[in-house]
Structure formats: C-alpha cells, structure tokens
C-alpha cells in the first residue's frame, strides 16, 4: 500500500480543527504528536468494555484488562525487536525511564568511581538525572562534544572512553533540536570495548526510524508514548534482562514485591519489580494501538515519506532570507531548529500561531546545546510527524518570509 499522507491525515481528528480561522499546520510533533482515531477509540473501548485493575483480580474483567496490558508489553517488545517481553518496563515517560536507570543502575549497580558519559546534544532529561547521581554518589559526569555541523564528535567520544572509567554512556538516539541521528551502533561498539554500558534515549528516534535494540546492541533503550501518536502518561524502558535482574527497585509499593513483612520485603522479578502501584492501564492500551497504527502504515514507508520531507524542508528553509538552521548533520530526521535574524523565537511563534502554524520556541529542554551554538536566546523549531505534508512546509517557509517583513 502506498503512503498517502492526505488519507493518513483523515485518521487524526484534530487536524481538521481550524486555528484562528486557518487550517491547523501542526509542526510541534517533536514535543508531542497528535493522536489517530485508532488510539482514541482503543482507549475509549478499554474504558467502556474491558477495564479493571490488573494483576490482582480473580475475575474475568480483571483478567481481560491484564491481558490487554501485557499484550501491549508484547507489542512494544516486537516493535523494538526486544528478545523478551519481560525486558519491557512501563514508565510514565522517557524522563522517568532515565531516572529509573540513574537510580536503580546508577545507585544500585554502578560503583561511585564510574563515570557517566553524555553529550552536548542531550535533552535535560538525559542530563539532570546524571547530575543528581553525581551529586548524590560522586559518579563523575563527562560530556562528549558536538561538532559545528551538529554531529557527535566521535574522536572526543573515544577519548573520553579511553581510560575505561566510564560505566555508562547515556545518549540521545536522535537530537530533539538538531534532528541529528547519532551513530548508535558505533557508539555501542566503542563503549562496550571500553567496558561501558549504553543507554539510548529514543524519544525522537523511535518515531522516525525502525529501531532494533538487538541489532543496535545497547543495554537500555527508552522512549515515550505520546510522541509516537500514543497517549501521555506511558513510556518504555527496555533493558537487557541480565541488567534488570541485578537492579534494585526504583519505587516501592504494590505490584513490585514478592513478599512483604514488616521486617523485610523481597522484590518481584522484572518487569514487575519496576512497576510499583497501579500502572497506566488505559494508556498502555493506547500505546498498543499507536504501535499497531504505525506498523500498519509501515516504518519503511514512514521513513521514506520523512526523508523526502526533510530534503524538501532543507531546500525550502535554506531559501528563507535571514534564516540560520541549527545543525546540518548528514543523518537527520524531521526536526529543524532555526533562528531568524530579526525575529525572536517567541515573537515568531506568536506570529505563526495566528497563521495556524504551531511551532516550538525556546531552548527545547536543551539549554547547554543552545549555549554551545551561541544561541542563548533560543531557537524556533519545526518538527514533523507522519501526517506532515510538503505543502505545510511550503506554507511555513512562506510565513517565515512574511514574518521577517513584519518585523523589518
């Protein structure tokens, strides 16, 4: 089946809702994507026909809900080619997944003298938990440089791994600002050769690329449901079972224990060990529907659509006078951060909103990266989803020219 973006757009009810009397041009999918009817319906259906708490009720409805929750775990495992569904831990989002690793692996398994290596292009979610670990346990934090074109400086990465003192490399699979896709296979090979484990933040990548954790060879991988056309409140941490087995719990409570007495409790096996309390059941069902939806269109078709869109956007945005694009990585996805010479990102965002265009303005939770590129005032960012059309890119480019005239 060929990729028909205009037919796909009909799957997303919100895309037909005008903004300020203009058609909605939603270019902030990198922050959170819109939801297809299939996801909305699956969650409604769950609440209307198949909802109860999971993992505890000895009655049919609870069993149905448990099956649906666990089926979502299976769908996630297949989606990222995880060898075993028990390796899939549901979290609230990527941020919580990274915090889980920082807590349970960082404090529970790593030695305090082992460093964590991140990069300049990280989202705050992949910076702050490691700073907290450093301040708490002393684990040094190293930062790999990013080149002027917005790519990972692989020489610097190798240099910072060389002494064998790095315990964990924590890296974005795709930058939420530069669009850069990082060479994760090479990073993993290099890190493992120096005795470091690898955590990849796939929040952006998983939306734009076929992700195969087995082929990548990483130790942990995380992503969030709401950027993948699923609901908010559900994210995923995938970790090799041998790692998860060694890790103490993150949060304590119901569902994560084997036995509890006032003297001592023992932990359930993964993934239950890391899912304390009633989980996001309806959201897991929604995430499953989102994965099914993406799979039905096909990741290769989505990738091809996006590649064409990225090339088109590169040409169109480069033609806008006064526009500076942040990052020109060879391997990149549909995220474009830019500065316009005479318009502040926030003014630009307010202006474009009146034309029906939603973009993000600011530093996109990546303040150190903006400092690195001398853009402390922030940038504007357009990010694409599978429903983004070349016509929308053209409309954006035209609006940017008009915005520049507006502020002239």
């Amino acid at each position: 089946m060929s990729f028909d973006v205009h037919r796909i757009r009909q799957d997303f009810p919100i895309l037909s809702q005008p903004q300020h009397g203009k058609p909605l041009v939603f270019l902030d999918s990198g922050a959170s994507a819109q939801k297809p009817r299939a996801v909305i319906d699956a969650m409604t259906r769950c609440m209307e026909t198949a909802y109860a708490n999971v993992h505890r009720g000895a009655y049919r409805l609870s069993e149905v809900a448990t099956d649906a929750y666990e089926a979502s775990r299976g769908a996630v495992a297949r989606f990222i080619n995880a060898p075993d569904a028990r390796e899939v831990v549901f979290t609230r989002n990527s941020t919580e997944a990274i915090n889980l690793v920082a807590h349970s692996w960082g404090r529970g398994v790593m030695r305090p003298d082992q460093a964590v290596l991140i990069s300049e292009l990280e989202h705050h979610a992949n910076i702050v938990p490691w700073q907290m670990l450093r301040d708490d346990r002393g684990n040094p934090l190293r930062v790999c440089r990013v080149t002027d074109s917005g790519e990972l400086d692989m020489e610097d990465l190798a240099a910072k791994l060389a002494d064998g003192k790095v315990g964990l490399v924590a890296l974005a699979h795709m930058s939420n600002v530069l669009g850069t896709v990082t060479p994760v296979e090479r990073v993993v090979a290099l890190a493992h050769a120096h005795g470091a484990k690898v955590l990849l933040d796939g929040s952006q990548a998983v939306v734009h690329r076929r992700v195969d954790v087995a082929a990548i060879g990483c130790d942990f991988y995380c992503f969030t449901g709401h950027k993948l056309y699923g609901p908010t409140g559900i994210g995923v941490l995938w970790g090799k079972l041998e790692h998860l087995d060694r890790m103490p719990p993150f949060l304590g409570g119901g569902d994560m224990i084997e036995s509890v007495s006032f003297e001592k409790s023992t932990w359930a096996k993964p993934p239950a060990r890391f899912e304390a309390g009633t989980p996001a059941i309806i959201e897991a069902v929604g995430l499953h529907a989102a994965i099914d939806y993406v799979n039905a269109i096909g990741m290769p078709a989505i990738e091809a659509h996006e590649r064409a869109l990225v090339d088109h956007a590169m040409r169109k945005l480069s033609d806008v006078p006064g526009l500076t694009l942040l990052g020109r990585a060879q391997d990149r996805g549909g995220v474009f951060a830019f500065a316009l010479d005479n318009a502040h990102p926030h003014d630009l965002s307010t202006l474009l909103d009146r034309a029906g265009i939603c973009i993000r303005a600011g530093r996109h939770c990546a303040e150190p990266l903006h400092t690195r590129f001398g853009l402390e005032q922030g940038t504007a960012r357009a990010s694409f989803g599978l429903y983004t059309t070349p016509e929308e890119v053209d409309y954006l480019a035209g609006a940017l020219v008009k915005a520049r005239e507006f502020f002239a």
Binding site: N342, P345, H346, G378, F406, F407
Partner: protein, 159 residues
C-alpha cells in the same frame, strides 16, 4: 496577502511603538555608577535582563537603564519602563508597576491613579499582551526586575 492580514490581529500586540522599542530599545546601556542593580530572568524562554538605577539625593529615580536579551515584547517593555520611571519616587514607580501588571493581565487598569495617567498612556501600547497569556510574562519581566532593584534584591524571576 500582506503580512498584516496574514497574521490576523497581531498588530494589536505588535504595535509600531512596540516594534520600534523592540528593535531600538532606549536606555539600553550599563550605568557604571548605579545605586542599585538587579537581574531578571524568565527561565521558561531564556529572556534575561540587568537593570540599573541611579537615584537623586532626595530619593527620586535619576536614571534607569538596562541591558539584556529577549523578545520584542520584553525589550520594548523594559525600554518603555526605563523611560517612564525616571523622575519618580520608588513608591510611585512601584504603584506604576502594579498598575502596569493589571494592564498586561487584563487589558484594563482599575487601580490606576490619576497621577499615573501620563505614564500609563505611554505604556498602553503593551495592553494588547493580555490577549496572549503565554506572553504576559515577557511584558512584566522588566517590572519584576524593577521591584527587585528597589527592594535591594539582586535577582527577580517572572516565574
């Protein structure tokens, strides 16, 4: 279609006075002999300013100047503020700030005293910001910073 029509009613926010002060902020300099200075930050968007006040011997604001970075709204607001507070006592400046915050948030100024009318008239081009809740902070950052400077605090945040 001209830019004006294309962006709907945005001239209500970006009036010519705002664009002019945004592009060429007045009193955009450092006062080396300032009696009080304060830094203002809007952590959400990265706007940042430093405000300098020079007082007369009898306690009026002799000079006000600022430096920093930000959007057209925050730069214009800081620029207009430095113009309007000169010659005022700290109490008058604070009352003006309260009146301005009302204006920025509601488009109206119920607390506006007659003595502030002239100054409020000059600040009125910023009243359009009340239609843009996410941008109100841009307009009020300078006034938060002024309050901090008058209170002897070194830092203010619009959060």
């Amino acid at each position: 279609m001209s830019g004006n029509d294309f962006f709907g009613d945005l001239r209500d926010l970006y009036q010519e006075v705002i664009l002019d002060h945004g592009r060429k902020p007045r009193n955009f300099r450092r006062l080396e002999d300032a009696d009080s200075t304060s830094r203002g930050d809007n952590p959400m968007c990265g706007d940042r300013m430093e405000l300098f006040l020079k007082m007369t011997p009898d306690g009026h604001i002799a000079d006000a100047a600022f430096q920093g970075r930000g959007c057209a709204v925050s730069m214009a607001s800081a620029s207009l503020m430095t113009e309007t507070v000169k010659g005022k006592t700290p109490q008058e400046a604070q009352a003006l700030g309260t009146a301005f915050r009302d204006l920025a948030m509601t488009g109206q100024c119920p607390t506006c005293a007659a003595s502030l009318e002239d100054a409020m008239e000059r600040l009125s081009p910023l009243s359009g910001v009340h239609e843009f809740p996410s941008r109100v902070k841009c307009a009020t950052l300078a006034w938060h910073t002024l309050n901090a400077a008058l209170a002897g605090a070194k830092e203010a945040s619009s959060e």
